[in-house]
C-alpha cells in the first residue's frame, strides 16, 4: 500500500492538504530552489546567451556592443552585381564541414571499437577465474588517468623518433619504418582513436558487465543442458538480454564522443585531419577572435547533441518518475 501512496498523483492532495503534506511540499520547494538557481546560472543562462551570440556580430573584447545580424553567421547568400552568388557563414565554411566530418567519423569508429572491445572485456570479467579482481582493478586505471595525461603518455609512446610503439612495430616486423603517428594527416585520426578507445573501453566494459550480471545464471545452465553451443548462446541469449544496457551505454558514449575536445587538442594540435567541432569552436571563440562564428558553431553542436539526447531518452525509456518504487 505504501507503494501506491507514493505513486498517487496530484489529485489526491488537491483537497484539504494536511499539515504534513504542506510541510513536505514547502520543504521540497526550498530544497530544490538552490539547485535550480545554480543550474539556471551555470547552464540555462549561458546556453541562452551563447545561442544569442550566434545571431550577433559580437567580439571577444566587446561582448556588450553586439548587434543583431540574424542568420548571417549561419548562412548568408549574396548575389553580386556580376551575377555570381556568394555563400558565407558557418554552413558554407569548408573548415566547419571538415570538423563535422571529423567529429562524426571519430564518434562512429570510437564507439564501434569500444563496444566490441568493451563486450570482450565484459565477457572476460563475467567469467569466474582466479585474479578477476586484479583484472577489474587494472582496467579501471586507463579510466582514472586524466585525459590530458593519457594524451601526453600516448604522444610520447607514439613519438616518431623515440616512441616505443614504433620501436615495437619495427622489431616485430609490423612496420617498415617509424611513423609520425600524430603528425601525419593519414594516421592522426587513427592515433586519436587508439588513445580514446584505450581510455574509454573500461567504462563501456563496466556498463556492459552490469548488464551481463543481471542475466540469471540458470538460463545458461538450461542452455547447456539443451546442448546449445556457447557461440549460439552468446547471440541467442546474451546479446538480446544485454541489449538494453548496451544501447544506453552506446548512446552515452556517442554523446560523449561528439563533444570530444581535450584529447584532440593535446594529442594532435592544429591538425586539420582531426580537428573536431568542439576544437574548432573553442579556437574561433578564444584564439581567432571570431566570437560570433564560434558561438554559431557551438550552437550547431548543441543542436546535434540535443537530437541525440532525445533519441537517448526515447530509446533508453528512462524512468523519470522519482517515486516509482
Amino acid at each position: 500500500m505504501t507503494t501506491e501512496a507514493l505513486r498517487s498523483p496530484a489529485i489526491a492532495q488537491r483537497r484539504g492538504r494536511s499539515e504534513l503534506m504542506q510541510q513536505r511540499a514547502r520543504a521540497a520547494r526550498w530544497f530544490l530552489l538552490p539547485m535550480m538557481i545554480a543550474l539556471a546560472v551555470v547552464a540555462g543562462w549561458p546556453l541562452a546567451r551563447s545561442i544569442y551570440f550566434s545571431f550577433t556580430d559580437v567580439k571577444l573584447n566587446n561582448l556588450y556592443g553586439a548587434e543583431w545580424v540574424g542568420f548571417a553567421n549561419y548562412l548568408q547568400i549574396r548575389t553580386l552585381e556580376s551575377g555570381r552568388t556568394i555563400y558565407r557563414g558557418v554552413l558554407a565554411d569548408p573548415d566547419w564541414w571538415n570538423a563535422v566530418w571529423n567529429t562524426v567519423r571519430f564518434a562512429f569508429w570510437s564507439v564501434v571499437w569500444e563496444t566490441i572491445f568493451g563486450m570482450i572485456v565484459a565477457l572476460v570479467l563475467n567469467a569466474e577465474f582466479r585474479g578477476r579482481g586484479i583484472v577489474r582493478a587494472a582496467i579501471l586505471i586507463p579510466w582514472a588517468i586524466p585525459t590530458i595525461v593519457s594524451a601526453k603518455m600516448w604522444s610520447w609512446m607514439l613519438n616518431d623518433q623515440f616512441g616505443i610503439l614504433n620501436d615495437l612495430g619495427v622489431r616485430l616486423g609490423l612496420l617498415g619504418a617509424p611513423v609520425a603517428w600524430t603528425a601525419s594527416p593519414d594516421t592522426a585520426m587513427m592515433a586519436v582513436l587508439v588513445v580514446d578507445i584505450w581510455k574509454t573501453t573500461p567504462f563501456m566494459a563496466l556498463l556492459i558487465l552490469a548488464g551481463l550480471q543481471m542475466i540469471p545464471k540458470d538460463i545458461y545452465e538450461a542452455a547447456d543442458i539443451d546442448g546449445v553451443h556457447p557461440i549460439k548462446q552468446f547471440f541467442r541469449i546474451t546479446l538480446p538480454l544485454v541489449r538494453p544496457a548496451l544501447m544506453v551505454a552506446i548512446i552515452f558514449r556517442v554523446l560523449d564522443a561528439l563533444r570530444i575536445f581535450d584529447l584532440i587538442y593535446v594529442l594532435t594540435p592544429n591538425s586539420a585531419a582531426t580537428k573536431t567541432m568542439s576544437v574548432l569552436a573553442q579556437e574561433n571563440l578564444f584564439q581567432f577572435d571570431n566570437f560570433a562564428e564560434g558561438s554559431t558553431q557551438s550552437t550547431l553542436l548543441f543542436l546535434l547533441i540535443a537530437l541525440f539526447t532525445i533519441v537517448y531518452i526515447w530509446l533508453g525509456k528512462v524512468n523519470f518518475d522519482g517515486g516509482a518504487r
Partner: protein
C-alpha cells in the same frame, strides 16, 4: 487516552478509491483490530488515522476534535511498523530517544528516565547500546514497540507487527502485546492484521474490512456468534465455517446455511445429512473429518480427541440447531 471517530472517511489514490466511506468509533483505551483480506484497505485506514496519508473526504476526530490535517507527530500517536523501521545507524537507546530529542524542552535526564522505563517494561535494557543489526527479529520488534512506548502516546498503532516473525515467536509476542495493553489500560490501540487468530486473541473489538468498507464491528464473540454476513462468518473462526447452499439450504428457509465444524455432531442414525469421509486430520486435542456431501467445498466436522474414521466411510451428521446461521441471497442473515 483518546477516542477516535471516523465519519464517512474516503481515500482515493488517483482515480482508485481504496477507502469508500468508513464510519467507525474507536473508544478510549480500547484494543481495536482491523482485519480483512489483503487489499481490503486496512493498512490504508491505519495510515489515515496516523496522518501519514491524507484523507480525501470525510472527517476524522480525536477526542471530538477534527484532526483531518494535523501532522502525525501532533496527534499523540506512536506506530509500530511491519518491518520495524528502526534507524539502522542508531543504537537501541538512540532509536527510542530520537522522538523525544526532537521535542522541545525535554531534559536529558527525563529522556533517559523514559527510555529506561520503557526498556525495563520490555526487558531490553541490556541491549540499549547495541545497533539494530546486532539484534534478533524478536528483539528488534521489542525495540520498535519500546520506541513507541517512550513517546508516551495516547494512541498506539500497529501495522501487521508480527508478520515478519516465525510462528513460535509470533505467539509469544502476541501474548506480550496483550499484556502490554493490560498494563497501559488508558491507551487506545489499533492493530492491523490479516490473521483472524491474532484478531480474536488480542481485540476488545474487531473491525472486519472488505473492499474499502466496514463489514462488521464487534467483540470477537459477537463476530463469532452473530456474524452479519457470509463474509464475516467465513473469515472469523478456524476451521472455516461450512457453507451449504442449494436444496439442502432450502429446507432451512435460506439461500445459504452456515455451520461451524465444532457445531456438527456425528450421529449413529437419523442424522440431518449424510456424507462420505474423504480425508481426516488428527491434531491430538481435536480432529477434523472432511465429508463429501455434494456441497461446493467439503464439509468439515471438528471432533474432540482422536477419531478413527477412514476415507470412504459413510456417516450421518447433525448440526446443533441453535448454532445454524442462515443467510439470504445477498449474504445477509435471515431474521
Amino acid at each position: 487516552m483518546a477516542s477516535i471517530e471516523l465519519r464517512d472517511v474516503r481515500k482515493a489514490f488517483g482515480a482508485v478509491e481504496v477507502i469508500k466511506g468508513v464510519d467507525l468509533e474507536v473508544r478510549k483505551g480500547e484494543f481495536m483490530v482491523f482485519v480483512g483480506p489483503s487489499g481490503c484497505g486496512k493498512s490504508t485506514l491505519l495510515r489515515l488515522i496516523s496522518g501519514l496519508e491524507d484523507i480525501t473526504s470525510g472527517e476524522m476526530l480525536f477526542d471530538g476534535k477534527v484532526v483531518n490535517s494535523l501532522a502525525p507527530s501532533k496527534r499523540g500517536i506512536a506506530m509500530v511498523f511491519q518491518s520495524y523501521a528502526l534507524y539502522p545507524h542508531m543504537s537501541v537507546y538512540d532509536n527510542m530517544a530520537f522522538g523525544l530529542t526532537l521535542e522541545k524542552g525535554q531534559s536529558k535526564e527525563e529522556i533517559r528516565r523514559r527510555v529506561e522505563k520503557a526498556a525495563d517494561m520490555l526487558q531490553i535494557r541490556q541491549y540499549l547500546d547495541r545497533l539494530p543489526k546486532q539484534l534478533s527479529g524478536g528483539q528488534r520488534q521489542r525495540v520498535a514497540i519500546g520506541r513507541a512506548i517512550t513517546r508516551d502516546p495516547k494512541v498506539f498503532l500497529f501495522d501487521e507487527p508480527l508478520s515478519n516473525l516465525d510462528a513460535a515467536l509470533r505467539v509469544q509476542t502476541r501474548i506480550e502485546i496483550a499484556k502490554l495493553h493490560e498494563s497501559m489500560d488508558n491507551v487506545t490501540m489499533i492493530y492491523v492484521t490479516h490473521d483472524q487468530v491474532e484478531a480474536m486473541t488480542l481485540a476488545d473489538r474487531i473491525c472486519v474490512l472488505r473492499d474499502g468498507l466496514v463489514e462488521q464491528v464487534g467483540t470477537p464473540m459477537e463476530l463469532y456468534e452473530k456474524p452479519n454476513s457470509v463474509f464475516v462468518a467465513g473469515f472469523i473462526g478456524s476451521p472455516k465455517m461450512n457453507f451449504i447452499s442449494g436444496d439442502l439450504a432450502k429446507s432451512f428457509n435460506a439461500d445459504t446455511v452456515g455451520i461451524r465444524g465444532e457445531h456438527i455432531t456425528i450421529v449413529p442414525e437419523n442424522g440431518v445429512w449424510s456424507g462420505t469421509v474423504i480425508h481426516t486430520e488428527n491434531l491430538g486435542a481435536d480432529s477434523y473429518v472432511y465429508l463429501e456431501m455434494g456441497t461446493e467445498e467439503p464439509v468439515v466436522v471438528r471432533l474432540d480427541g482422536v477419531n478413527t474414521y477412514r476415507s470412504g466411510d459413510v456417516v450421518q451428521i447433525s448440526p446443533m440447531p441453535d448454532k445454524i446461521h442462515r443467510f439470504n441471497a445477498a449474504g445477509k442473515p435471515v431474521a
